[in-house]
Symmetry: C2
Subunit: 247 residues, 2 copies
């Protein structure tokens, strides 16, 4: 937790908050903060700054806020991700949130086990929790949006074109012969298949929407490693990210 | 397991092997292979090809080998990594192996808990196991070398210059103001600190050896995400990797 992330419910007045539970425990046990100390603090979907600890015990801490800075700019990558195994999904959601992705579409695919959609980890509150952890890690406040599309065909036929809009459209495909180039991108929609990849029918359906298959290299990566690798690799080509990285 | 990785002990003649244990179980339970089927197969530190299943039961499988191709070229990145938490180390070793890193130096640092060095996960056989899993995932056969250096100062003063040789030297540092550029690299030595980063003294010691601090962007990543992100991001600049990716 590199950022104390505040929610609207924490406020007791316009510049004062109370925290309890997990975040308080972290402040007490890990940071070992004392009254008078300042913590890096941000408001969900709001500004970042610091908070001074006014009072602190095992039940509650009260802090005074000085939020002054905008959060880092969003990464212009929309992620279309075949639903991973639920245990892996948690780590992937944290990872892509920490990398700055703000639009995440979890989709069905031939190789996605249908039972995954019933996992308790897919409940809205569990997903929300992973997103908050990713923001706290990254020192960011803009909450990503996670959308669920269990059926591949209607998603691709009826929704994906609108979602991808004018962005560059890529599928990460382990057996693609095209390497990722260096052409600058304004925005990107990146589709990543399940372990084992999209099946040929799915690649064709995506190709009909002008998705190009690209490969990260000769090695086959787990979805978890591939997601972090691809997002970081492709962020190089984003004009917006280049700009922010140099600031 | 995308590759059946063979060890010298598996051979019963020059082109015939027997496998048991974890790999056999995977062939039986996950791949559900039958006699006559071919499996993607490689020999540790040797060639890749296929193997035909001759006989198969719950105790042992016998296969005939046809190994024909070289493994993918190594990634010219030497990784200097502050020892992560043991549980995370396992995943990181698998990830960097799957990304093609062949030289890994685990080092002590102010923020590395000394007790981590006593973890059973650091035993040579446990590390070896993670490396094999990474190779099986990536479809690669060249075993990475993992070196341990519990003491930061003697490692940096007496060994690191020789290890880094003529390669470009970078430290991934969350608070660095220099972004990763696009200058082509022949080879790279990349130092990644613990959660919380190297302390200023350590950054200075590395700077004395011409290590430059660079940042991936405005967000703070976990070591696990940072490693995959940085290796993939920096591989873009490697002349050797560019070449291999386009083949």
């Amino acid at each position: 937790m590199n950022l104390l992330l505040l929610l609207p419910d924490d406020f007791i007045s316009s510049e004062r908050v109370q925290i309890r539970g997990r975040r308080l425990q972290h402040v007490n046990k890990i940071i070992k903060a004392k009254p008078g100390d300042y913590l890096k603090t941000g408001l969900l979907n709001g500004e970042i700054g610091r908070a001074k600890i006014l009072t602190l015990n095992n039940d509650v801490a009260e802090l005074a806020l000085e939020l002054t800075d905008a959060p880092p700019p969003p990464l212009a990558i929309t992620l279309i991700l075949a639903l991973p195994r639920p245990k892996m999904l948690r780590r992937i959601l944290q990872a892509v949130t920490s990398l700055g992705v703000k639009q995440i579409h979890l989709i069905g695919s031939w190789r996605v086990e249908k039972s995954y959609w019933q996992s308790p980890f897919l409940a809205a509150d569990k997903i929300h929790e992973q997103l908050l952890l990713g923001l706290e890690q990254a020192i960011d406040t803009r909450l990503p949006e996670v959308h669920r599309h269990p059926l591949f065909k209607p998603f691709v036929e009826d929704e994906l074109d609108t979602i991808a809009g004018s962005s560059t459209r890529l599928i990460a495909h382990p057996h693609a012969t095209t390497a990722i180039g260096s052409a600058p991108l304004q925005a990107l929609t990146l589709a990543i298949g399940p372990e084992g990849g999209f099946i040929p029918y799915e690649v064709e359906k995506l190709a009909e929407l002008d998705f190009t298959a690209v490969s990260l290299g000769p090695r086959i990566l787990t979805v978890e490693v591939a997601v972090s690798s691809l997002v970081s690799r492709l962020a190089v080509n984003l004009e917006t990210d280049k700009h922010s990285a140099h600031n």
